[in-house]
Symmetry: C2
Subunit: 248 residues, 2 copies
């Protein structure tokens, strides 16, 4: 944090998938194709329940991302067809995963301008995303946004320990950190638990696993925005009212 600035700027963390660029829509489309593949044998609810159960069971070994999703989809298809899945169906499942991995990055509205404004205002920004390492790195490079961030951190899980480690690495006090993201479970709750601030920018689609029934109480530290374009005003307001801001 620069001693020359009028007050110590906040450090901003940004989730990537469904915060900076579209992601869940690709998985939703893959689920639709998966339902269609098995539609002659099972209703979509049964297929969806079985796939989700397989994904959760495999999560400790596979982690997040399209490769684990593909393997779980193949396993679910074998289970649900009692092994009578055809070669063309298997090829379709491999394609489902590859299509997610190869899909171009589509930025959400107002993302480049918002990041440019915050960058121009001198904020240190860190991208913090979970999932497949290579895929996330490729999306960061393809986004054209990498230069906005002092670091891009790909992590295997977004829990309080992970955020604490990253904040230590970058010398950021939790009270001066604002995390921005679409997932209450991964972007908001763990940062509030650490004493940080969090801005929730909901995305129209949420994977079941990222949903959360209740947030920790965090008066004055939790904000909901309808678009990322509201972020610079929030950051300016928080900067002005910060306990770390010097008296005028």
């Amino acid at each position: 944090m620069s001693a020359a600035s009028a007050h110590a700027p906040l450090v901003l963390g940004f989730d990537a998938d469904d915060t900076l660029w579209h992601n869940e829509g690709l998985f939703a489309a893959a689920h639709q194709r998966f339902h269609a593949l098995l539609a002659s044998r099972h209703d979509p609810q049964t297929v969806e329940r079985a796939l989700y159960a397989t994904e959760l069971r495999n999560l400790p070994l596979y982690g997040y991302g399209a490769k684990g999703f593909t393997l779980s989809a193949i396993e679910t298809a074998i289970d649900l067809t009692e092994g009578r899945v055809s070669p063309n169906e298997l090829r379709e499942l491999l394609d489902l995963g590859r299509d997610i991995l190869a899909h171009p990055v589509e930025l959400l509205d107002a993302v480049p301008d918002t990041l440019a404004a915050l960058h121009a205002a001198g904020h240190r920004m860190i991208l913090i995303t979970k999932g497949d390492l290579l895929h996330q790195e490729r999306k960061i490079a393809a986004s054209g946004l990498a230069d906005r961030f002092l670091a891009a951190e790909v992590v295997s899980e977004k829990d309080p320990e992970t955020y604490a480690r990253l904040l230590r690495r970058h010398g950021v006090e939790p009270a001066r950190f604002l995390m921005v993201g679409n997932s209450l479970r991964s972007d908001i709750a763990p940062v509030l638990a650490l004493g940080g601030m969090a801005a929730h920018v909901p995305y129209p689609l949420t994977w079941e696993h990222e949903k959360l029934a209740a947030l920790p109480s965090a008066p004055g530290r939790f904000f909901t925005l309808s678009s990322i374009r509201e972020l610079p005003a929030l950051v300016a307001r928080l900067g002005d009212s910060s306990p770390h801001a010097p008296c005028s």
Copy 2:
């Protein structure tokens, strides 16, 4: 680097798979099971060639690691059987990958004592490993060695750009960096290309992709050890003869 030490200690980088713990043997066993699965249709050489071609083709999308291997094995099995792969064979392929991911970490000989000795001598040590993020993190945690390292970096590719980025992050001059690993392609050549030093500790098995025909010329900067237990003596010798060491 501590100004109090007799001379600036080298910073040591360590590869993990087949340098600190066994890895390629697990993949070799998985390949054997894969050959056995297809043995009634094709000879092992044909199976191996097809699998390797599929892996190379998928590498830009899948990256390294057991999940990508599993997906490539499934794809190869479909191709080589013209789709007549059975459900039990597919389950066996999913198990192949899961067995690699779930396998306990088996340290190579002399690794804990060698790292303890180097740690006691005050060397900063960084673990630098490529592959699946979650799997590598789980292996690092399970190894019991995490405390020896100031950082554990999981990367998607080990090329000169990656090493340059990591050395910048940790404030290490290439000339004061010694990388230790079993892969000429991933651990040795890129570090020599940057002007660093490298100690090759061969492992009995090497994946085709990690082989390398020729190394860059690096007189006085490239060393071959028959075991990691020879490393402390090498490091002591390099420290003594370092151009950065103060005159006595």
